[in-house]
Symmetry: none
Subunit: 382 residues, 2 copies
């Protein structure tokens, strides 16, 4: 799945009808069909989806299929086995939080716990740490990042090295890291985080990149290039900048899925979830969408919930694919499954929160309903 660093080749763009009939598409389709039978214990809510695991929808110029996201969640969510011990349901770390932003890393980290991870860490600046700790005693918060204003020029190299050493000694323990929520734009801090991303990659740690992490990656695509364990989750603006930088053109709404496929192929290996009215997910081979309506509220912070949730689901999906006996399952991209699951769960929780709180819905309200949303889809006792 990996490509040599620097291999920025341009792949020919697949036309929709060509893609729909290509061997790669058909294979991926078979794999997903194999993966997504109705779950035996999922209850009546799955009956609608069980008759057809994948539903097709014709888009302007490219084949996009609607994921049966509920079935994905049911398959990849691990059973709550009494014999399991702390950490086995997931250890997540969020790299983010600076003097200016503290809410975003908190939202991502607490969401990971609410989805079902056992441990959730935050690596942030000293200024942010006290505040993030005060939001919740559930999180483990490491005050180790630094911004330019707190580092003398002649100390930069040694401080940067020390930060990497501190994070590195934890890295192997994590099942997934989230880079970017509330990271800010400080150049020294972003340099350090770039080094952390390189280290995570060497250690084969799946990495979700969101928020200011996407600013970093857009300016330095080599950080994720050819990394099949990297997931980018850009919103409208972030996606636009990424397309401009990598494809050197503007967004093409008429051929959205083709452009997304091309973008993934050009970066090479990564999975991208283009957030919007429908979330479009591609790893350069197929394009899946999740379009269940969530909430009309657009309060800031929902992207952070998504990033934390995708981190947990991706690590679960990876375990599921590795453990599964059927050889077909091994060829499904777990990063794609993680994105599908995270997208649906956020939409469902946002929908429930909006039903309850209407216009006054804020991000915390949505987080509080992650648990119920997951339980509705995938009962803990199944």
């Amino acid at each position: 799945m990996s490509r040599p660093a620097g291999a920025w080749r341009h792949h020919p763009q697949h036309r929709g009808h060509m893609w729909a009939t290509s061997p790669a598409f058909r294979r991926q389709l078979v794999l997903l069909r194999t993966l997504l039978p109705p779950h035996p214990a999922a209850g009546s809510s799955s009956s609608a989806s069980s008759s057809s695991s994948l539903r097709f929808r014709a888009m302007a110029s490219s084949a996009v299929y609607e994921a049966d996201a509920e079935a994905v969640i049911r398959r990849i969510t691990p059973p709550l086995d009494r014999a399991r011990h702390k950490g086995q349901a997931g250890k997540i770390a969020v790299i983010g939080g600076c003097r200016e932003y503290t809410g975003a890393p908190y939202f991502a980290a607490i969401s990971a716990l609410k989805v079902g991870a056992d441990l959730s860490h935050v690596f942030c600046t000293k200024d942010a740490a006290t505040v993030i700790k005060s939001y919740s005693p559930e999180l483990i918060v490491h005050p180790i990042l630094e911004e330019s204003y707190s580092v003398r020029d002649d100390e930069r190299v040694s401080v940067s090295s020390k930060i990497l050493t501190e994070v590195a000694k934890w890295m192997e323990r994590f099942d997934c890291i989230v880079v970017g929520p509330g990271l800010g734009r400080d150049s020294f801090l972003l340099d350090c985080v770039g080094n952390i991303m390189k280290h995570a990659r060497q250690a084969n740690i799946p990495t979700v990149v969101d928020g200011d992490g996407l600013f970093l990656v857009t300016n330095n695509p080599g950080l994720v290039e050819g990394n099949p364990l990297a997931i980018l989750t850009p919103n409208v603006y972030e996606y636009k900048r990424l397309v401009q930088k990598v494809l050197n053109c503007d967004i093409n709404q008429e051929a959205a899925s083709e452009q997304l496929t091309t973008l993934c192929q050009k970066i090479g290996g990564v999975t991208i979830m283009r957030k919007g009215k429908e979330d479009l997910i591609s790893d350069g081979k197929t394009v899946t969408q999740v379009s269940m309506f969530g909430s009309p509220r657009r309060c800031g912070g929902q992207g952070d919930i998504l990033a934390g949730s995708v981190a947990v689901f991706s690590s679960w999906a990876q375990q599921f694919v590795l453990a599964n006996e059927q050889p077909t399952d091994k060829r499904v991209n777990p990063m794609t499954l993680g994105c599908i699951a995270g997208s649906l769960l956020l939409r469902k929780a946002a929908s429930l929160a909006f039903q309850k709180n209407k216009r006054s819905t804020v991000t915390t309200d949505i987080i509080e309903l992650l648990g119920k949303s997951l339980e509705d889809i995938c009962p803990a006792e199944h």
Copy 2:
């Protein structure tokens, strides 16, 4: 709408009966009638008000009309369009929060979110920032203001300039700013905030001035003079000082609406909401009141809720008036509509909070009921 700086002309005071028959009054009346038909989907609660959009009440010496504030809220509140994205329902900033006061800016900023804004920022001192952040991860808090005690005399100019630069780079993003909640009285800090107000004015950002911001403006009325996008929300004491300073006389309870009109005209262009048993609102042309009873509890912080709510409603009203096809609507002052809406919403939420919590009602209880109050008036699904 603007007037040259320094144009402190004295306008002849309208007598009540003259005003009631003046062309300006009649025109404004027609405009508000045009604006306020019953909303089709507002439910039965609107039936009482729909029969008569404006009800009149004779005051001692001037015509004041009772706004149909529910109808105003229903008209200016934007529909929750599924195609909208983050930020389009409003981005608000509160300038306030110092070593002594942290609750007030939090109340104003969180109220903006609960009314329905997408993003809410606070610009405060470093001392205040950690605490305000810890109240809620929903807010984006910038620790950039400084008080005299933390700035050496020889640094004042450079620090002041740096603060303005920091705030200025965000300013264009905001739909409205609130100046004053928990600002304190430190002279250096107030000087900096005066510069921020001048910048906001140049950038045409609507500005709600409350609390210590009114102390600043009372001592320097030029900061808002001739600014049609400025709203002052004085309580009894703040209004008294403003009248003394600008009109050089004491409060005249017998001719309250005339005096308010004269005050608006003398300052020029601004909208003033004189808070009290009835909230009197004027832009120098008409005087509207909102008199629905709220709560007998007078716990501190309700003015901050009001300021944050007025900021959101004013920005919505501005969009509504700009977008509306009817030429009459374009001539209604959106700042007046924002005040009317904010006044009613606070009163309704305070009333619900008091029914529930009686003597123990505090500001947080009221904020928690902003959502239900708005939903009762203007259902999200309409």
